[in-house]
Symmetry: C2
Subunit: 329 residues, 2 copies
């Protein structure tokens, strides 16, 4: 349980009082550090983002959780709900940070070297060069906050590592990034799909369509190979005996490949942190999402992002006062 490892964590649960109260009664350690906020409206998985906004702005549990971040009551909002609705509400309520045009969803991706950050994995469809540069700032700040590194390496996901490869916006972003310095990251260059699993760089940057497909293709491939291994070890009594003897090693892989241990897509680029947990996960998955949230809050992710933006584009960052007056779309 998270609270044993991070005893200063505090919780606000948003939802229907009648559902949450009996649940909280079951956890004697959690209850004293928790508070329930009742919301009548609950956003469902079927609500489209625009519907969710109309139906739930101001009065749903999802909105209330995000609002508590905006009001400074909470440092991170976590939801296992509808991703599209959560992104729409988070963007509407928290608004993009000055200097960032659109938020991104970052995944923490286990690799052969260590965990890395991959973004965007689904907030955007298509991106121009400037957005890919924004994603580099955001991803680098997340890597600095989570992995305790000074200048994470950034790779732009492409179909080859040569300068002439890829589409125009990737090439343009590569040119911009190779001219940056002192921005809180080190630009490595282009990386290819197989560089993700190798852990060639600390942060892999791409637009959301490609990133989402890469993420799900990797999940599918991992499941496919795991099935091959399971079937191969169940082939006959000899392989079964072998599997029994090797069970310590096999358990280690299982926990390494457990998608619950790196649960949580981080919404980056808004004035506040929101984490989307897998909806179908269990207490282990939620604990991962909560640990992620805790570490981001303690390591002041938002400040690190702000610092990254002001270092890379000092001219573009308007006065904060002005920005808070600007209506967002």
């Amino acid at each position: 349980m998270l609270l044993r490892e991070r005893p200063d964590a505090r919780f606000i649960f948003h939802g229907r009082q009648e559902n949450l109260a009996p649940l909280l009664e079951e956890f004697s350690e959690l209850k004293p550090v928790s508070e329930i906020r009742h919301s009548e409206t609950v956003i469902t998985m079927e609500d489209k983002p625009s519907q969710a906004l109309r139906k739930g702005k101001g009065n749903s549990s999802m909105w209330a959780a995000i609002q508590s971040v905006k009001d400074g009551e909470a440092q991170v909002a976590i939801s296992g709900g509808n991703t599209g609705a959560l992104m729409a509400m988070a963007t509407f309520c928290l608004r993009p940070m000055p200097g960032i045009s659109r938020p991104a969803i970052a995944a923490i991706w286990p690799t052969l070297r260590s965990d890395i950050v991959v973004l965007d994995v689904g907030a955007t469809i298509g991106a121009d060069a400037d957005q890919l540069v924004d994603f580099s700032i955001l991803g680098a700040a997340l890597a600095r906050a989570l992995f305790d590194m000074k200048s994470p390496t950034i790779g732009l996901l492409n179909v080859g590592v040569e300068e002439a490869k890829g589409n125009e916006w990737v090439k343009d972003a590569g040119k911009i990034l190779s001219e940056t310095s002192g921005a809180g990251f080190t630009y490595h260059g282009f990386v290819e799909g197989d560089d993700i699993g190798k852990g060639t760089v600390d942060v892999v940057v791409t637009e959301g369509f490609t990133g989402n497909i890469a993420l799900k293709t990797a999940e599918g491939t991992a499941r496919q190979v795991a099935t091959y291994v399971r079937n191969a070890l169940a082939m006959n009594w000899l392989t079964k005996l072998g599997a029994l003897l090797a069970s310590q090693g096999l358990r280690a892989i299982r926990s390494k490949m457990d998608p619950r241990t790196v649960n949580g897509g981080v919404f980056l680029g808004l004035n506040g942190v929101v984490i989307k947990s897998h909806g179908g996960t269990d207490e282990i998955g939620y604990k991962s999402a909560l640990s992620l949230a805790y570490d981001m809050a303690r390591n002041q992710l938002i400040d690190k992002i702000g610092d990254g933006i002001s270092r890379l584009k000092p001219g573009e960052v308007p006065d904060v006062e002005t920005v808070s007056e600007t209506p967002s779309t």
Copy 2:
């Protein structure tokens, strides 16, 4: 060796006579069914496509191999060389089939169900809706030729399965495909990245940037998981003993995951078939590429594609005589 399984196969080797002749002397069964065609110029891995065309058009071994397909001497050309140069030369020499605007590279992808076709994995960067429809025709014809099926299922790779998801060209292609019938395939709808490994459909269609990244991400993930398994089984003497007992099962996975057994990117949409084999492969990898070539030739892939085009867009397919006069770009 391929010749023992497919005794009517015949070979033309293109390259430097002085390099090829001593090699062929070593294979007594191969020599009587083979012929060497000398070319002075050899395209290297460093040549850019445009350079390769200037340097090697008409006089390189790569060009000669493709020309032998155009002349009807060979039914398939196979090269382990420079992919970009091979695609440029193949497109220039063989030209796109009537009704097809741009060629694609198809991969044969092993899944939990069976092998499937995924295209484009790198010939194009970006595609409009019509190109995705062309790729569907091409991929379906390849699936019909290789897997002996009447109406393979087609899925469009997207970030969600709902109609409203994705970018415009994927949505538009989905609309066009859902209105087709009798085109030699069954349109399934959108599929996501993890549907590839599941084998949800027989043919996954996407543009080349995304397809290439999905392919390489999957290769990287498979290698990553294989490394986890290897390390876990080498953990201690007990897991090592277990691995020894389970070796029959583990060998089965190794051959299942061996990238050499599905070696070969198929260039589709040209007036002739060209296969790109992995350059760094060995005799097992080349045998896979050759088997693929043989099966495509015997199952009349080109006729099947032509049939698919004329069924789906009868109006657009001009008279073949006219087309052969049209200069291609």
